[in-house]
């Protein structure tokens, strides 16, 4: 319906402007959708024990739901719209045939919700994987739009091979301005999961919303006392059962007393499809006999215990003990323990990163860190004057930085592999790493090295040495090193200033760094 189209359009619009558009600071709060998400707000605030002010906007959605019911699911949620759209397509193509009566349990999403909240109480924040907004944004950022970018490339290539080079150029410049990131490790997998979720609509209409969505479950809990109640006019009802068959969320409108208000998303498909227009949603503040969620008490307790037991299970990982050398976090990231409690794996930072450097982690941060962002310099380095990731993070897991602040944040340290570096090994000139180092004074200095060559001669060349006091770990050296398959200079996480333990140099009292040399 129109409202869904509007909010989906808004979601996509904010998605497309989450990148460098010409201003150092993005004017619009592109991450605003997330601030209204009660599931993310609750899980993040509880797990981190910190209230990120913007997340308090979610209270507005809670109040709205208490009064009106799950209208956010039916009228606003962009993932709900995606599922509804595909369910519609599958129904029209007869791939989906809604059953007349469906007795499948709708309880699963409540168990998922309980798991998320119980583990959050013990500081584990797993809300981001199943939260609908995180799920959709991440799928778009890492799967759908990268795929689309490859399609665009294909179109541009075809235009050029057909000799339509001016059309090819116009389209190519347009795509270049969108600065879409097209390369993602796990992009295949995350895209596949998204397609899988969409295909679930072949089985049941709005499968996700019915059985999986923990945010919908949370809103369902709040909606029990809402003021709009479904009413079937008994005189008009011909007991055809069409309303129940086509109810998108299996809320069982017929018979009236079995209607589950906690499941109803107010799509009003039932009212539209009723041949005698017997269904309406009058205001009825007084509580009524309505169908409730069937949650077995035993299962609630079990799920809670599972949520709690999950916490130590997740933390067996070595990443809790020693930082992984490849886990280079975005500049502005909180210390790892706090970071993991706040990151909702939404992918905003990965979308905004101008060089495509931020990638979803897999094992580097342990199971808790799956799909949290890490910098992979071989794919993209951290652009010196950019702080976009810190500006778009919806929960403050990456603390917002000014450009000036960001140039002084150390996220790691570069290392020269003397066994692969051209001047050291071949005695030929290079220095591409030093050339690209953005710091002033540069964090790469030179020594003259003598290299014995097989013909008996000795070559003397300038060779790079990293100045550990100046290197901020941006990774442009690794990114531009001509030893393509395995760069001869590479960045690891040690020295990242957000970490107390992951350090290398101990400042010696009396051994100061003169201000002009430190570049600070």
């Amino acid at each position: 319906m129109a409202s869904q189209a509007f909010f989906f359009g808004l979601f996509v619009y904010l998605f497309t402007i989450s990148h460098y558009t010409g201003q150092d600071y993005i004017e619009k709060t592109v991450e605003r959708f997330f601030h209204f998400d009660p599931l993310l707000a609750l899980a993040t605030i509880i797990a981190s024990r910190m209230v990120f002010a913007s997340l308090l906007l979610a209270a507005a959605v809670v109040i709205l739901t208490v009064v009106l019911g799950r209208v956010v699911c039916g009228w606003v949620c962009p993932l709900g719209s995606v599922h509804q759209f595909f369910a519609f397509v599958f129904k029209k193509t007869k791939l989906l045939k809604p059953k007349r009566e469906d007795k499948s349990s709708l309880a699963w999403k409540y168990y998922i919700l309980i798991f998320v909240l119980a583990s959050a109480v013990f500081t584990l924040d797993v809300a981001g994987w199943m939260d609908p907004l995180s799920f959709l944004y991440r799928s778009f950022a890492v799967g759908v739009f990268p795929g689309l970018t490859h399609v665009f490339s294909g179109i541009i290539g075809s235009l050029y091979s057909l000799g339509l080079s001016s059309a090819g150029q116009v389209f190519s410049q347009f795509v270049g301005n969108l600065t879409l990131n097209a390369t993602f490790q796990q992009g295949f997998f995350i895209g596949l999961v998204f397609i899988g979720a969409v295909l679930l609509n072949v089985k049941k209409e709005r499968f996700w919303c019915r059985y999986l969505c923990p945010a919908g479950a949370l809103l369902g809990v709040f909606s029990r006392w809402n003021i709009f109640k479904l009413r079937i006019d008994a005189d008009k009802c011909i007991k055809c059962g069409l309303c129940t068959q086509h109810c998108q969320t299996q809320a069982d409108p017929y018979p009236n007393e079995k209607w589950k208000s906690a499941e109803c998303v107010y799509c009003e498909t039932c009212a539209a499809i009723c041949p005698t227009a017997a269904i309406s949603f009058p205001v009825k503040a007084a509580p009524e006999k309505i169908g409730s969620i069937d949650l077995s008490r035993r299962r609630v307790v079990l799920t809670t215990l599972l949520g709690i037991a999950a916490v130590p299970l997740f933390r067996i990982a070595p990443s809790a003990k020693r930082a992984h050398q490849k886990l280079i976090r975005p500049p502005g990231s909180l210390p790892e323990e706090k970071f993991l409690r706040k990151c909702v794996k939404c992918g905003e930072c990965m979308k905004a990163c101008p060089t495509n450097g931020l990638q979803p982690a897999l094992a580097e941060a342990g199971p808790e860190g799956i799909w949290t962002p890490m910098l992979v310099p071989r794919i993209g380095y951290c652009e010196y004057y950019c702080s976009l990731c810190s500006q778009v993070c919806p929960t403050g897991a990456i603390k917002e930085l000014t450009i000036e602040e960001k140039t002084r944040v150390r996220i790691g340290t570069a290392w020269v592999n003397k066994n692969r570096c051209i001047p050291y090994v071949l005695g030929k000139p290079c220095i591409v790493c030093e050339e690209h180092c953005p710091a002033s004074p540069k964090a790469i200095k030179f020594v003259m090295v003598d290299t014995k060559l097989p013909d008996g001669t000795i070559a003397r060349q300038k060779a790079p040495v990293v100045d550990l006091n100046l290197c901020i770990g941006c990774g442009i050296c690794e990114n531009k090193c001509p030893v393509m398959d395995e760069p001869a200079i590479y960045v690891t996480s040690v020295g990242e200033q957000r970490s107390e333990k992951n350090q290398l140099l101990l400042p010696v009292i009396g051994e100061g760094i003169p201000p002009e040399e430190s570049g600070r």
């Binding site: 460098y20 190519s172 410049q173 600065t179 101008p354 950019c386 050339e435 690209h436 002033s440 001509p482």
Partner: protein
């Protein structure tokens, strides 16, 4: 003096002027200066003056020409950092080319940092567009494997825009560089290349000469309004820059770079790539021997 002597002197004087028009400040056709060295407050004004001193843009750009003005837009730096060409210098060249009758003026460079950031934060996209140019990102689909016949580089992928243009105006900025010591007009050609340019550093001076020999620019304009004297080629602090308020323009890119070397207290013969270029006959670095138009406005 008496009237007869006056008339005789006037006649002799006019004859002398007609045989040596340079005495009146007008260069004769065929004896135009090929090197201009202009200093002044406004980057746009000194650029226009430099081209005028060489005989005006009409000497270089013909009616209906497709012109590429190739600045250095390689780095994500703002203008005062002297990492990219001064945007006002670029705009002036765009405007002059259009005034001289160019059909189209394109401005592009294969950047090092992220392209959109470089184009915008350098100020060049806005300035060039204001001047009437088509500012375009380089497009990998437009790369053409090209035979260069260099001493070292035999073939390389080059953006077809540079190959198809009628005239190229090379407009670099004067900077220091750890490998070649200085980065000026001959280094700027790396921005017309695609492919793995980071391999060229294994013999960069020779690569620069091979490229300079291949691209025959109609005009070279060295932006020395603000030069980079430390931590090149992209600097990072204002203290890395030095304001000279100068532009050097010429038809011989070797001579232009030789003038540029003087801004860094370097002797041209100390720069390997200039020596190779002179040996190859690409130009001369003994620029003091050329007719130089040196002005301050």
């Amino acid at each position: 003096m008496d009237r007869r002597t006056f008339i005789k002197n006037a006649a002799l004087g006019s004859l002398a002027f007609s045989l040596h028009p340079s005495l009146a400040g007008q260069p004769p056709a065929g004896r135009q200066p090929n090197l201009a060295y202009i200093t002044g407050e406004s980057p746009a004004a000194i650029t226009k003056e430099a081209v005028a001193a060489l005989g005006g843009m009409k000497r270089f750009v013909g009616r209906g020409d497709v012109v590429i003005v190739k600045p250095n837009i390689g780095w994500d730096r703002t203008p005062e950092m002297a990492a990219n060409t001064n945007p006002d210098v670029v705009r002036a060249l765009v405007e002059m080319s259009l005034e001289a009758g160019a059909k189209e003026v394109k401005v592009m460079d294969n950047t090092t940092n992220q392209a959109k950031r470089c184009y915008i934060r350098s100020g060049i996209q806005e300035a060039a567009r204001a001047g009437g140019a088509k500012v375009l990102f380089t497009d990998d689909f437009r790369l053409k494997k090209t035979t260069l016949n260099g001493e070292w580089i035999k073939e390389w992928e080059i953006f077809s825009d540079f190959l198809e243009a009628d005239k190229i105006i090379n407009v670099p900025i004067a900077k220091v560089h750890s490998l070649t010591r200085l980065s000026m007009s001959m280094k700027n050609w790396l921005g017309a290349l695609g492919g793995p340019r980071n391999q060229l550093h294994q013999k960069l001076d020779q690569a620069m000469v091979d490229l300079a020999a291949f691209f025959k620019p109609a005009l070279t304009v060295l932006d020395a309004y603000r030069i980079l004297v430390r931590n090149g080629p992209q600097g990072g602090r204002l203290s890395d820059t030095k304001v000279l308020k100068t532009v050097v323009a010429g038809t011989d890119q070797v001579a232009v770079d030789a003038v540029g070397a003087s801004f860094f207290d370097a002797k041209p013969e100390e720069l390997l790539y200039l020596k190779i270029a002179q040996q190859k006959g690409l130009g001369t670095y003994e620029w003091e021997k050329l007719a130089v138009e040196k002005r301050t406005i």
